[in-house]
């Protein structure tokens, strides 16, 4: 179950995690982009976390909308409108709910995934965060419960690491084309971490990947 409280805790945890992973995400982006994905994400989710701290929200919709607006004004890169879109889709999906079950979480994630596809005009296999959100969303839809949530983390992790072998055709890394093969997509890694933290906040006991070693 996702409550106002667990969602707030998730945002805080994700922001803290991004701060830890800032350097590796920047370094990955430096190899195939402009070297700012960690900085962008850490700054954006720090801003979002601070924005919601001490605030009370009527429902999950209002909370997600506040996160989305904070991201829009603070991320700066492509990941800004992308993650903001995901949170806006959550906001629409969870409007007027103070808590949602895993079925509704699955719906929210599916809607977010659809939003990301539309925003980025991307398809799976283009070495973008969609490569992670899509299998995670599918796992959760297939099994909308605690096990599905854990399966989503596993699928997300696998996809994030597999992004290494894909040539980019969207985003800045597309300038490199085949030369982007050999480096994990930074947005895919930050997305896998997203699912790790979402699962940890909702079901707990998630084993987290050591991205510094495995993604590099």
């Amino acid at each position: 179950m996702l409550t106002l409280e667990t969602l707030q805790a998730f945002i805080q945890a994700y922001a803290a995690r991004l701060a830890e992973l800032c350097t590796v995400l920047d370094d990955l982006d430096n190899r195939i982009g402009d070297g700012d994905h960690g900085t962008n994400m850490a700054r954006g989710f720090r801003t979002a976390a601070d924005r919601i701290t001490g605030e009370t929200f009527a429902d999950l919709g209002a909370l997600c909308q506040a996160v989305a607006m904070a991201l829009l004004a603070s991320v700066g890169g492509a990941s800004g409108p992308l993650y903001a879109t995901a949170f806006m889709r959550f906001a629409q999906s969870w409007k007027d709910c103070t808590n949602v079950d895993f079925g509704q979480v699955a719906t929210g994630v599916a809607n977010a995934c659809e939003g990301l596809r539309a925003r980025g005009k991307a398809e799976v296999g283009e070495k973008t965060l969609l490569d992670v959100w899509t299998p995670a969303s599918e796992a959760l839809a297939a099994q909308p419960d605690e096990y599905g949530m854990r399966a989503a983390v596993a699928r997300a992790t696998k996809a994030a690491l597999a992004s290494r072998d894909i040539p980019a055709t969207k985003g800045r890394a597309a300038y490199l084309g085949e030369r982007s093969v050999g480096t994990c997509d930074p947005g895919s890694i930050s997305s896998a971490v997203f699912f790790e933290e979402l699962a940890d906040a909702t079901v707990g006991g998630v084993t987290k990947t050591s991205w510094q070693t495995s993604a590099w």
């Binding site: 829009l72 603070s74 700066g76 492509a78």
Partner: protein, 132 residues
């Protein structure tokens, strides 16, 4: 009389400001705004783009120029968040930032209709800048 405002979206505040000065020189009197940079960092800010769109007179059509794909994504985001009365007057132009905006500014100054202003901007893609 066609009235067209221009909005310049760039990752760099300096680049955006410099371009706006260049545009004002070729097109004095044309309404031009910029939403560039993320504070002192390189980046774009959808809320700044929203603000720029809303600063344009409400009788004007608005053309948005941008530097890189992610700036366009943020401009699209901004378009979804401003009131429909603003969004329906706005188009994001996929043209070279500097060359497209210069061509559009000159056309807007001549009070050409919106479609012609856009077409001038898009033609900038194929125009040889260097003669001969």
């Amino acid at each position: 009389m066609a009235n067209v405002s221009l909005v310049i979206v760039s990752h760099s505040k300096q680049l955006g400001e410099g371009l706006v000065k260049l545009l004002r020189q070729v097109a004095p009197g044309v309404d031009i705004h910029e939403a560039a940079g993320l504070g002192d960092e390189l980046g774009t800010d959808a809320t700044a783009i929203m603000a720029a769109l809303q600063q344009c007179p409400n009788t004007h059509d608005i053309l948005v120029f941008f530097d890189l794909g992610s700036a366009a994504m943020n401009a699209e985001m901004a378009l979804e968040l401003v009131p429909p009365s603003v969004a329906e007057r706005t188009r994001i132009v996929d043209a070279p930032l500097v060359e497209g905006a210069v061509a559009a500014a000159v056309a807007a100054r001549s009070q050409l209709p919106l479609d012609d202003v856009m077409q001038q901007a898009e033609t900038a893609r194929i125009m040889q800048k260097r003669l001969g």
